[in-house]
Amino acid sequence: MEELWEQNPFSLNHQEKTKYYENRILELTKKHAEGCAPYAKLLRKFDFSIEKTHKIEDYPFLPVRLFKESELKSVGDEEIVKTMTSSGTSGQQVSKIYLDKATSTNQTKALVKITSEFLGKNRLPMLIIDSKSVVKNRKLFSARGAGILGFSMLGYNVTYALDENMNLDFDTVYRFLEKHKEENIFLFGFTFMIWEHFYKALAEVNHSVDLSRGILLHGGGFKKLESQAVDNETYKRELKRVCGIEKVYNYYGMVEQTGSIFMECEHGRLHASNFSDILIRNPKDFSMCKKGEKGLIQLVSVLPESYPGHSILSEDVGEIIGEDDCPCGRWGKTFKIYGRIKQAEVRGCSDTYERK
């Protein structure tokens, strides 16, 4: 891992990355096989040998849903410093991700490293487009809260733009902007929340808010915006129209692999950094999709040491755009996302009353 901290987070080309990952993923697989009995059993039952190195695509991948159903950890309880939970609409099970000191630290370091590419090396004053109650109220504490807390380390004078009722607090925003009028501003929030409670509020009022010095990072997906026909292009264009913001970056990531997030670059492509890789698999047989072919997204991360989440199969559909060839100049794979796979209509004769 050490070598990765020294360099730019998008510095590894295909060859270098392949070489590094073959060692690191084997090392992690061994570690989890030693520490996590169910994982070791899975490797055995799948006839997977940890005695030799494999191509990156040949390592087993765990479906994300397993983390919702089982408590998977590779270290003793006494070593766990933090447990992360995933989002999940009410009634759904949530993932539980167990972090030890090393994994937790590495997640933070990787997040800082990746985002500093877009935010600059210095900490910026930070405006969170959400309500403080999301992090304050432990009962409501969710992935949203965890995400906010995680990212808020990246800024200073962290200020919440929405009040408890999710209304845009113009006074607070004006005061914040006045105070930091000489600096760039770091804005952070969730894709849907920003649109619903920030963009719409700005679009409605006459007085303008100037965020031309702002850099917005947002994640969470466009799924809820589909019904309003808002795609990434529209999103950026409209935000620019209402507050003059030019730098709007989407990110993709999941709680099962916190830290090694995928950032959208200036050319609208999502990038795998040195800390993670993306594979696209054909759902029919899990074979590898070629560039430009849609399939299930598999995420590989070099960070997870305390739980076997270094290679997971998401329920998102995406496609590879290219590798080492983005016009932005960053190395690594680039991809785009088409959102979540469709829920099934299951046939069968049980369950007369479906749950609401």
């Binding site: 006839d47 397993l66 329920e315 796979i341 069968g348 049980s350 369950d351």
Partner: protein
């Protein structure tokens, strides 16, 4: 139940009064036969295999055959009014439930699937139209199809006025309906969660002709994939008998895979199935072998070392099956429970099955049928003679 806004009436103007007719009453048989004709002439109905199976089932010839099973010289009459709760995710089950109620001489209130299946619409349209004929006027007032969300108050009402209650949909639904009492004299037919499995004589597969093998695979596909393995009579586990179990299994699954190529494996199903497989691999020590990649994601076969104690927990879906070899049927006695429903067979000696069923004192296994017939609905189902149960025998001594 008048003026309840929560109940949507789909068919039948009035709430039916208890009405008693003779079992397999002539008018009812005529009505069903005409409905069969209507469905067979309906172009849209032709697009749905399950609607066609309904049309086939309710033609006169079939019903007459069923009637013969009840010809014992005694007087069989209905009980009055039946209340049916039918499964939300099987499009045509409700209509069979209604047929059983009608043929057993009763008036019927049927709660339909909440999902708006085209099959439900077609069937309702056919019933409505045939019932509108003058000669079936008597029957028209004896049926109502309703829709409503989970609602105890409505369940209470219908349960309170019925002479018999039919509950499909498994343990949870039964538990819920049991909160709503039925009158002391009323009968109840419930279809609980069940487990089904198959037994195959390995030599029979090894020696099967190409046609026989492909028919077996087709039948197996229809028993399983067709309903995503979610029907209670769908087999999840295959027990192999005989001396060529490995070879038999290899030939069988290859044939099943060829048949499964037509299965629409949606992305979510592929992920679900893979998740099941990973969970099994993480949890079960008794897995001997996992066939995952051999048949792409269409078919996963998990071979266990021995007959599992928790057999009935091992349910796959979307094409995930379990198997293990056995020496004889008797070995299964310990894992057969009241939950065991259908045993599908291929090439197994019929006398051996018969003595197994008769002599082992099993609390389960209500059906033994060849592959391909798992989902065939009959008046005898789940161990009930449904028409007999929903009717009564009148003793008339002179």
């Amino acid at each position: 139940m008048r003026e309840n806004k929560k109940v949507q009436i789909v068919l039948g103007d009035k709430e039916p009064k208890p009405t008693v007719r003779q079992v397999y009453d002539k008018l009812a048989v005529e009505f069903l036969n005409e409905l069969s004709g209507w469905l067979r002439h309906c172009k849209e109905a032709g697009e749905y295999a399950d609607v066609m199976s309904v049309a086939f089932w309710c033609r006169r010839g079939n019903i007459e055959k069923l009637r013969e099973g009840l010809e014992d010289g005694l007087l069989h009459l209905g009980r009055g009014l039946l209340f049916h709760i039918t499964p939300s995710n099987v499009p045509v089950n409700f209509v069979f439930s209604y047929f059983f109620g009608l043929l057993s001489g009763n008036a019927n209130i049927v709660r339909l699937p909440s999902k708006d299946f085209p099959q439900v619409r077609i069937l309702c349209q056919g019933i409505e139209e045939v019932l509108s004929h003058q000669e079936y006027r008597e029957l028209r007032d004896t049926v109502q199809f309703v829709r409503y969300d989970r609602d105890k108050e409505i369940n209470d009402y219908y349960s309170g006025i019925c002479d018999g209650r039919i509950v499909w949909g498994g343990d949870e639904t039964i538990g819920m309906l049991r909160q709503s009492p039925i009158p002391p004299k009323a009968v109840e037919v419930v279809f609980a969660d069940r487990f089904s499995f198959g037994v195959i004589q390995s030599e029979a597969v090894v020696n099967a002709s190409r046609e026989e093998l492909s028919r077996l695979a087709k039948n197996f596909y229809n028993d399983t994939y067709l309903m995503d393995q979610n029907a209670c009579s769908t087999p999840h586990f295959i027990f192999w008998l005989g001396d060529q179990t490995e070879k038999g299994a290899e030939i069988f699954w290859e044939a099943v895979y060829q048949e499964a190529l037509q299965y629409p494996l949606e992305d979510i199903k592929a992920v679900d199935k893979y998740t099941q497989l990973c969970r099994l691999a993480m949890e079960r020590e008794d897995i001997k072998k996992i066939e995952q990649t051999a048949y792409s994601n269409l078919l996963y076969v998990v071979t266990l070392q021995d007959i599992p104690k928790d057999l009935e927990e091992l349910r796959g879906s979307f094409g995930l099956f379990f198997q293990c070899p056995i020496h004889n049927l008797e070995q299964l006695s310990d894992v057969i429970s009241p939950k065991s429903q259908t045993m599908l067979t291929f090439g197994v000696n019929s006398e051996k099955i018969d003595s197994f069923l008769r002599e082992k004192g099993l609390r389960g296994i209500d059906r033994v049928v060849p592959f391909g017939k798992a989902l065939d609905m009959g008046v005898i189902w789940d161990g009930y003679d449904i028409v007999r149960t929903l009717s009564r025998v009148v003793t008339h001594l002179l």
